[in-house]
Symmetry: C3
Subunit: 332 residues, 3 copies
């Protein structure tokens, strides 16, 4: 019999919907129980997660740390500069050894170094060379933990059945050029929930076309809708959920200077109070953080009543506790 | 009913004396019990403290780490360079998120960057933006955890009632210019214990005048005494406790070159064996460490029978365990 | 009565054989029990190990981390750059303070800075100034934890009685010049097991002569044999165990450029498939990792059926759990 959970989580697309449903259900249970003061430290006692960061991280780093602490285990955060990798050890050897010591490995490699996809390749190499589960903490292509937390957040606001609910994933102008991992994972995940998915971005900021095609297939299977528009207002119109954030143009990456130049004409792509009025009355504003305040969004929006960003951030904790428990305790 | 413990500890001055008394009593109990092998890991099971260090730290870093381990929880040490703060995230967002994941936040920001007080401002911002307790691990103005450990140390040597006991907080020459946080927190705290407080420093090394005035008020209320002298020998004379350490002149900070120049004439401000003879026969030498051996103090003093420095350091552990337990377990 | 275990482990040579036997026995028990899912987190509850790294580390770092987690305690990894040592604190003060907070200290200082032996001096200083056990995580002279894991690995393959078994510790060409700690600790340890020890290296790559003489004494006492050859093939011939790895010439250290130049003529010192045929049919290939693949060894050897490298790496975990338990729980 096939395991319901694959060994690794690189992208939600590689997991069956029923397996993802279990993650969200368990995450929601963990959230409720934590509010009630119920401890979960009997779930992964004396277990080790190795978290490897090639790039900065706040939410991902700290939510994985606390997740393991709350489950009774421990996260050991590793920085490649302190590892033998800094003096030539190959991932094959590192991953092989960590698999002998610990119970899971999570890796962030979200900034493309040479060509789009090389961050994902590093993740795939860790997964291939590890005998323990490998969790993607954001590569340059996918950010599965984020979009699971986002799904949980949307479910908390709009219920189980998301059919007919419009979510707009929009580009926004920012000071720091961000990876495409979040919008790409969002179109992949939200299209499977049967939502009406709108992707809004200026010309030249298209996402990976292979992922767009997959999202279209997902849409058909889930009986939802999917469209791409080049106008932020049009995207916001009648949306239940808007998710405006910066990403760099794939064509320029990893040339940050060129990416910055390409986005200069689009400073007006900002989540403003005025624009939020275009959404449904109960519409919510989402952002995975970190955010460039004043550029991607006005403070009054992100700090206002429509903002769901703190719940999104919190749900990272619950989703990751669910993933760790399910992946570590359900092996073979 | 007002909570006995405020949400945060930024400076001892903002806590009522009865609340501080509880901290010291609990710290002393933790010390005794640890010597007896009694574990405290049922007090904060599966709890997370986030410790954020903008500057180097040994005692503070490791004592907070072990404090949480011994209480059954875990410290997650964060370095701003590994956080999104390094690429523009504001404290408001970081503090908000950490409040969703963990149970307390502690922050060190003790080197003034632009103008005296900006380290304290960072601490205040963390406190304001966090819903969980924030503990000051030394800002550029206060170091409350240190002086609570110092109080416990003095109590271990001279008992509960410190009235009539003379403590001299003295400047000393050092290679590395240190913040004023320790002497400032010392005059604030010791003046509340009814001690006879002497502050000794060369001209030009005055502490923050607002704090001096507060110490004078404390002295009046506690029926002790407070004086400032510009002579190290005079300070040491008949003291029960001497606490000689370096700090930079407020007028120069953060200009370290100017600070170094200003202290050059005062190389003779050193805790010597000879000077220690001026203190009471049972007088003790205190220092928060790190110390510039050979400059601030002769080895024979700091390693000698009058030295209380290792007990001081150890008490950091007990005081912080008390603070963490009380702050995390007594939230409104 | 003399304690069976010394306070510290700086080199296996300073421990009696019966004490080392207990370590290996306990490590082997821990290995079996972990495979059976038996937890050991009741052995060091709420205990702290401070791990201090002056140089990069993967296996040592992560195996000590997970060791403490699995024993119910915690490893706090410290980087000297984040400690007050970075601004002048002496080891005496740091070690004294850590002894008040935690339960053991482990230190890596494996790259000679000025003269061969200075890494070992740092370890000795930590041991002298700490009241808690100090474990050598590799200095520039010894790597005791590695060779204990190696002994466990050899025992797993060849049984308890190693008399008459030939082990060849051989030099190999590598891109990164490595310390002599592993080969030196190997000749010291394996000569005590009564093995037939061969040391193979090019001329000019001699190990510390004091250690060679000690190994000869060990050999006599254990009734084994010890020889040095300058030919890799001769070393491999009929060996049960080959352990070919790079190290820098002591005469050149720490001049890495000169060391690199000195090894240039010896690129053919590589563990090849062809050379492995010279060993016994059941001969094994060992390496402590990290390894320079393609230079020190061909992939087909290290990834092939004779390779024991992953078991070696895993045994680090078990040996260190045994050491930590025995050292922390058996103090005076």
């Amino acid at each position: 019999m096939k395991q319901i959970f694959p060994k690794d989580l690189i992208t939600t697309q590689e997991w069956d919907k029923p397996a993802l449903d279990v993650v969200i259900q368990l995450a929601e249970r963990f959230r409720t129980e934590r509010l009630a003061g119920i401890l979960h430290n009997n779930l992964l006692p004396a277990r080790t997660l190795y978290s490897i960061f090639y790039n900065p991280s706040t939410r991902t780093r700290t939510s994985f740390m606390s997740a393991m602490t709350q489950l009774g285990g421990e996260t050991h955060t590793l920085n490649p500069s302190g590892l033998q990798e800094s003096i030539g050890e190959v991932i094959k050897d590192t991953a092989g050894v960590l698999s002998r010591y610990g119970d899971a490995i999570s890796v962030r490699y979200c900034f493309t170094k040479e060509a789009y996809g090389d961050g994902n390749k590093v993740l795939r190499t860790y997964a291939k060379e590890s005998s323990v589960p490998v969790i993607n903490m954001e590569c340059d292509t996918y950010h599965p933990c984020q979009v699971l937390a986002d799904w949980q957040t949307i479910k908390q606001r709009f219920g189980e059945n998301l059919k007919g609910k419009k979510i707009t994933i929009s580009w926004a102008y920012g000071k720091y050029i961000r990876p495409v991992a979040v919008p790409q994972s969002l179109v992949l995940m939200m299209s499977r929930l049967g939502m009406d998915v709108t992707l809004a971005h200026p010309e030249g900021f298209d996402l990976d076309q292979k992922i767009i095609r997959q999202a279209e297939t997902n849409t058909t299977l889930a009986d939802g809708s999917f469209e791409i528009v080049n106008d932020m207002d049009e995207g916001f119109k009648d949306a239940h959920v808007v998710y405006p954030k910066n990403w760099g143009p794939l064509a320029a990456m990893p040339d940050m200077a060129k990416a910055a130049e390409m986005q200069e004409p689009f400073k007006h792509w900002k989540a403003t109070v005025k624009r939020m009025k275009l959404t449904r009355p109960n519409g919510i504003y989402m952002h995975c953080l970190p955010v460039d305040r004043g550029l991607e969004v006005e403070d009054k929006v992100i700090d206002g009543p429509q903002s769901a960003v703190m719940d999104q951030a919190e749900n990272r904790l619950h989703v990751q506790k669910a993933l760790l428990t399910l992946l570590i305790n359900n092996r073979g």
